[in-house]
Amino acid sequence: MGDMAVLSFTEAGIWCEAGDFHIDPWRPVPRALITHGHADHARPGHGAYLATHAALPVLRHRLGDIRAEGIAYGEARQIGGATVSFHPAGHVPGSAQIRVEVGGEVWVVSGDYKTEPDGLCEPFDPVRCHAFISECTFGLPVFRWAPQAEVAAEIRAWWQANAAAGRVSLLGAYALGKAQRLMAAVGDGPGPILTHGAVEAVTDVLRGQGYALPATELVTPGTDKARLAGALVIAPPAALGSAWARRLGTVSTGFASGWMRMRGVRRRRGADRGFVMSDHADWDGLNAAIAATGAERVFVTHGYTSVFRRWLESRGYDAQVVATEFEGESVETPAREPAAATEAGP
C-alpha cells in the first residue's frame, strides 16, 4: 500500500489519477481543485473549479466568469475513485489544505500555510496522512517569526511616530490576505486606514463574506490631504515608489513580509521600515506541521526545497523535491505575485 501514488506530478501540476483532477494546476485542465486565490495557485482557463465556500468569492472576483463549486471545510466528497476534503491552512481567508484518499492511502497537499492563528483566517488544522506535499517557502532556520501581537505593536508605533511628524504611513502588503490581516491586527491608530484600489477591492469582497475587518477608505485624487497625513495607507508592494505613491505627499514606507527577516533583502527593498510578518510557516512552523501529520513521506515544493529536503531526510523522513514551474512568493518577486493577483481581477 505504502508505495501507491495517490497523486503524481505532471507537466500541468499535481494530478490524481483515481479522480482525474488536478490541484492548483498551472496549465489549463478539465477539473481543478484550488487551495486558495493567490495567482500562483488559482490560474484562469480550467474547465471546472472546486474551492472552499470561503475562497470562492475572491476566485470569482479575480478570474471572472468561471464554472466553480464550493465545498465546506471538512466535507468529504467522492470524485471518481478518490475521496477529497478541504481543511484550513491558515494562510489567507478561505485557504485550504486538500486531503485526498484513495483505497485507504491518504495524501495531503498543503497549498500555502501558516501555523500561527492570525485572528482573521480559519486557523491551520493539521491533517493525519501517509504523504504530505508541503510548501517550504521559508524552509531555512534563519526564518522565525515573532508573535503577531509584537509585530503589530511595532507597526502601530511606526504609524504613531509618522502621524506625529505629519507623514503618511504607506505600508506595502499583498492585497489578498496580508493586507486584511494587517488592518485587523494593527487596531486603533492615530488616524484612518486608507487603501489602494487593489487592496480595497479584495477587502470589500472579504467584508461581504462576513470577515471582521475595520473600516477602510479608498484613496482617490480627491482624498483630503489633512486626512492623509495621519493615515495608514495599505497598498500592494508594487505600488510603493510608483507615481500613485508620490501623489500621497510625504510618506514613510514600510513593507511587511517574512523576507524582511534578512537585512540584505530589507535594504534591497529600499523601504524605510521592514516588518517581519509572513502568511507562510516559519522554520519551526514547517517542522511542527510536518510532524503533526504523522506522514513518513514528504514532498517539498516552493522555496528552499533542496536544503529542506536534506534536513527532513536527516530527521528520518522519506523526502523528495517536487519541481514547480512557478515560484510564487519567492524572494526575487515579492512584489509581483500579489500585484498580479489583484490587478488581474475583472
Binding site: 534578512m262 540584505g264 524605510d272 536544503v307 518577486t333
Partner: protein, 528 residues
C-alpha cells in the same frame, strides 16, 4: 550595548542622511566618553583584535541552535553575513534584554576572549549570546568578525560629532585622521584637545573626484580648468614635518615603511610641507604598469630586490602645506605655482616629480588627447578647477576624473552565486567564460553593473536552469552573454585562461547575442 544597538537600528533602518546624522548626533550627546570613542573607531573601520576564530563561532552557533554544520553553512550562504546568520539562527536567550553593559564593556569582553583557553572562551561567547537580544547579538558578533557597516561615511560621522561637541567640522576631520586606536587615545585627547605632537603625522582629508558623466562641455570655459593625466598608482599624501616624513594612503593607512625611497625627500624638501599626489612605479622617466607596484602592496617592508625592480616616485599634483602653513584655502592655481617652484631643478635621483599639465585650447582637442591615454599607460584625464580651494571629501564640482572607456569583451556566464549584503538573495556573482575552440574557458568573475531588475530576471533563470550545485555555486548552461568591461589585462599563470583582468565588471546584458558569438580566448590574448 542597548544604546549602541538602538543607534545601529536607527542608522540601519533609515535611508535618509538627515535622519542618520540626527541619530548619531543624539548618540554623541548622550553616550559616555568610552562609548563615544569606540563608536568613532567602529564607524571609521577600526575594531578590537579578534579573539575568536570564525570557525569557532560557526561551530558554537550551530551547536547551540541544534543544527547540523551543513545546514548552518547553507543558511550562511543565503544570508551572506556570518554575524547576521548567527543572530538569526540562535534560539531566544535566557535573559534577552537583560544586558546592562555598555558598548565599551562589551568591547573589553571581546578583547578578553583572546586571553582565555578554549572552554572558557566558548562559555563566555555562549554567555554573551544568552544575555543579548537579537540586535545585541548581531552587534556583538560584528565586533568579533569586523565589518560593522551602517552606511555612514566618515564625513557624516564627523558632521554629527561636530554638532554634538561644537568642534568645527574641518578641524575635527583632521583630528580623526591618522593611525590612532581607542587604546592609544582618549575621547578627550582625540576629539576635544589639540595635541601638537600627534598632529605632526596627520594628513589632511583627501579631496575626491567624480567621474565626468554629462560631457566636459558642461564644465564651461576650458581656460578655467587644469588637465593632468590620470595614472593608475596609489593616491597618497607625503608629509614632511619635525624632521620626519609620513606617507598616507587615501584609505588613511600609514605606508611610510613601504616606500622607503621617499625618505630621500627629507634632504631636498623643506620642513612643514605636505604633498598630495600619486605614488607610481617609475623607470626611465615613465610610469611602470600597476602590476609592478602591486608587487609592493601588502608588504610591510620591501626587500632590496623589489626596490630595484619597482622603484617608486611621488608624482605630486597638489601642495597642501608649505612652511608649516595650511594652503588649502588658496586657489589651485596658486598652490600649483608654489608646487612648481618647490619641485623645480631637483636632481633626477630625488623621487619627486611635478605632475605635468596637459595643455589644451578647447574641449575637442582635449578629447583627442584623452583618446591617446591607453597608449600612454594612463587611465584618462583629471580636470581640476583652477580657482578652487582644496576641500576634503567627495564634493561635486571642482575635481573630475575623465577616464577612457574600459576595454570590453563579450563573455558567457557559466556559474552563478548569490550575492552578499543588500543582494543576499539574488544571484549576482557570476563566472564568465570565452571560447577556446569549442570549449568555454572561465577567465573572470564579475558581480556588479546590472540593475536589480536584471539581477532578478537572471536569478529566476538560474533557478530554472541549474545544472549542478557546488555548495552555494550553481552551474548553468552557457547561454547568457554579457559585455564585460575592465581596466587592464595581464598574463597570469595562476589562471586556467592564462590571463587576469583588472577591475572587471558587467557593462550590459547582451540579450541580442547568442553564446556562439561570444569572444574567444584568442581575441582576449590579443589585448595583452
Amino acid at each position: 550595548m542597548k544604546r549602541f544597538a538602538a543607534l545601529y537600528t536607527a542608522l540601519d533602518q533609515s535611508t535618509k542622511t538627515t535622519t542618520k546624522v540626527a541619530a548619531l548626533e543624539a548618540y554623541f550627546r548622550e553616550a559616555p566618553d568610552a562609548d563615544r570613542l569606540w563608536t568613532i573607531a567602529l564607524l571609521s573601520g577600526r575594531r578590537p583584535r579578534r579573539g575568536v576564530t570564525t570557525t569557532q563561532l560557526r561551530d558554537w552557533a550551530a551547536e547551540l541552535a541544534g543544527l547540523p554544520q551543513w545546514l548552518f553553512e547553507d543558511s550562511y550562504a543565503v544570508v551572506g553575513d556570518l554575524a547576521e546568520t548567527i543572530a538569526l539562527v540562535l534560539p531566544e536567550g535566557e535573559a534577552p534584554g537583560g544586558d546592562t553593559r555598555s558598548l565599551s564593556d562589551w568591547i573589553a569582553e571581546v578583547k578578553r576572549l583572546g586571553t582565555l583557553d578554549e572552554p572558557a572562551r566558548k562559555a563566555a561567547v555562549l554567555g554573551a549570546w544568552g544575555t543579548l537580544d537579537r540586535t545585541g547579538r548581531f552587534v556583538f558578533n560584528k565586533l568579533i568578525t569586523g565589518g560593522l557597516r551602517v552606511g555612514v561615511s566618515q564625513t557624516l560621522m564627523t558632521r554629527a560629532l561636530a554638532r554634538a561637541t561644537g568642534v568645527p567640522e574641518p578641524e575635527l576631520a583632521h583630528r580623526l585622521m591618522g593611525d590612532w586606536t581607542p587604546e592609544t587615545v582618549s575621547f578627550e585627547s582625540l576629539v576635544l584637545t589639540r595635541d601638537p605632537e600627534a598632529d605632526l603625522s596627520k594628513p589632511y582629508p583627501f579631496c575626491l573626484a567624480y567621474q565626468v558623466e554629462d560631457g566636459v562641455q558642461a564644465l564651461g570655459s576650458p581656460a578655467d580648468w587644469l588637465a593632468e593625466w590620470k595614472w593608475d598608482g596609489i593616491r597618497g599624501q607625503v608629509i614632511l614635518r619635525g624632521g620626519q616624513h609620513f606617507v598616507w594612503s587615501r584609505g588613511e593607512e600609514l605606508m611610510t615603511d613601504r616606500f622607503p625611497e621617499l625618505a630621500r625627500l627629507r634632504d631636498f624638501v623643506p620642513e612643514g610641507t605636505v604633498f598630495d599626489g600619486e605614488i607610481l612605479g617609475w623607470r626611465d622617466g615613465a610610469p611602470l604598469p600597476f602590476a609592478a607596484l602591486q608587487t609592493r602592496i601588502g608588504r610591510k617592508t620591501v626587500p632590496k630586490k623589489l626596490l630595484a625592480e619597482a622603484p617608486v616616485i611621488l608624482l605630486a599634483y597638489d601642495l597642501l602645506e608649505a612652511g608649516g602653513e595650511d594652503l588649502r584655502a588658496a586657489p589651485l592655481a596658486e598652490r600649483r605655482a608654489r608646487l612648481a617652484t618647490l619641485t623645480e631643478g631637483l636632481p633626477d635621483e630625488v623621487p619627486l616629480r611635478l605632475s605635468p599639465e596637459v595643455g589644451f585650447d578647447d574641449w575637442a582637442a582635449l578629447a583627442a588627447l584623452r583618446a591617446t591615454s591607453r597608449a600612454r599607460g594612463a587611465e584618462g584625464l583629471m580636470l581640476k578647477r583652477r580657482a578652487a580651494p582644496y576641500v576634503g571629501g567627495r564634493r561635486k564640482g571642482d575635481w573630475w576624473k575623465w577616464k577612457v572607456d574600459p576595454l570590453s569583451v563579450d563573455a558567457v556566464m557559466i556559474y552563478a552565486q548569490a550575492g552578499h549584503g543588500r543582494r543576499a538573495n539574488l544571484f549576482t556573482d557570476y563566472t564568465f567564460a570565452v571560447w577556446d575552440g569549442d570549449a568555454l574557458v572561465p577567465f573572470t568573475k564579475a558581480y556588479s553593473g546590472l540593475t536589480d531588475a536584471e539581477f532578478r530576471e537572471i536569478t529566476a533563470w538560474v533557478r530554472k536552469n541549474t545544472l549542478q550545485r557546488f555548495g552555494p555555486v550553481r552551474q548553468v548552461p552557457g547561454e547568457l552573454v554579457f559585455e564585460i568591461g575592465f581596466e587592464g589585462i595581464q598574463p597570469s599563470p595562476r589562471h586556467k585562461s592564462g590571463i587576469a583582468l583588472r577591475f572587471p565588471r558587467m557593462l550590459r546584458w547582451r540579450r541580442d547575442k547568442p553564446a556562439a558569438e561570444a569572444d574567444t580566448l584568442e581575441s582576449l590574448r590579443a589585448l595583452l
